[in-house]
Amino acid sequence: MALLEVQGLTAGYGIVDVLFGLDFSVDAGEAVVILGANGSGKTTTLRALSGMIPAGGSARLDGTPVLGTRPDRLLRAGVAHVPQGRGTIVDLTVEENLRIGGSTRRDDLAGDIERWFEVFPRLGERRTQRAGSMSGGEQQMLAIARAFMSRPRLVLLDEPSLGLAPLVTAEVFGQVGALVRETGTAVLLVEQNANLALDFASRGYVLEAGRIVVSGTADELRGDEAIRKAYLGA
């Protein structure tokens, strides 16, 4: 059984429907990407799963229906969401952001915090700095580390490349990839940048105007002619 099983997912904003019945899944420890252009509904998908907007259809985590659960409850169930634009809490320090990430845990966070400072040394250097004063790339790493602080089983990662320079994005993907392999956490990534995403993920779906049009392994998607033209610049 898949860790996350989604069937017939629909969602919208007010009277405008954005998603028209999506079917996809993520297995434990797997990295899956949903590719799509601007406006295809990628962010809406994650927000629907996360309980931030009302949604229809079904989503099961380990068989338990979770659609419509509030974000903070979903986190306790083991799903962490790194929102678009990073969502760092700008008035808190780096360390405080990490602490908030682990706020649902009852054990001592200090050990984990130190570990993340080892994985992301730049964050360690800025541990008492206000999160809002860091660069985009550093904030992205902070947001990801923060999500992992809750020791989730599944991380929803929304367009980490947005607003970041290519080199920085590559570095972020590299770090996240290593994290995922090490911790065995599943990741559902939505991205525009197909190149990096298909290196990172093992499986993928392509979203167009609120519907999934293609699905397959990363290799299959990379080899697909139409996708190459549309998303990889052939």
Partner: protein
Amino acid sequence: MSQFLQFLFIGLGNGAVYAMIGMGLVAIYRATGLLNFAQGEMAMFATFFVWTLDDVGLPLWLAVIGGMVGGGVVGALTYQVVVRPVGDPHQKPLAVVIVTVGLFLAFNALAQLIWGTDQRPLDPLFGTGELQLGSTYIAWQKLGALAVLGIEAALFYVLFMKTKLGLSMRAVASNPESSGLCGVPVSRILLFGWALASAVGAVAGAFMAPNSAVDANLMQVPLIFAFAAITLGGFDSFVGAVVGGLAIGVLTDVVPKYVGFVEKMPTAPAFLAILVVLLIRPQGLFGSTRVVRV
């Protein structure tokens, strides 16, 4: 000179009360982003709890604690039932103003309904004695108010900077959406913010009441002073509320004694402070510049 010192300490003592109300206002502003025009009436309501417990026979300090608890419950309920459904204050300022005006009228009337319109006396927590320094006499009550303000400020500091709850409150104040995604129970945190503000109001009322009496009009003028305090100090700064409160207290008590023109207009210095600060430096002395965006 000694007369000036006397006025100064009266001003500081009163200012401590404005600072206390102001800290409640800042707590609500930081949590939910709005200016609670009903804060004074809610504090007055909590002060009536204090009076009731005192009247029943409890020692005054215990009555104050009881009033804090009662006030906290009222604040929490107000948030849950009325404030939460309104939505984002920055997008609907008129709705927020109307709601707080409605709460103002409602709490004022409710207090009169429950406790009547008689003036209820309340003893000063620190008695009526005075400290004598040379030829200057300073009431212990005023010094007590300053001391209690100091304790409150210290407790706020510890709460916000050293506890997990305080961290959650700061997180929610800065970014409620992300905080929710990190598992912080956002509306429960906001609820606590409102409860805290009203609880602090009970303490402020306990110091305000002995000057006059506990009645429905107790907080109407002090509310403006408290707002002047946080405008001067910065809407989202607790330090600002303390400094601003003391400053406004001194301005309000000292200036009319020396400037005949405003002798009968105690609110005038406060009004000017509000106007000038909002025109020249809207973030006040200690507030963050993000306060300014409307």
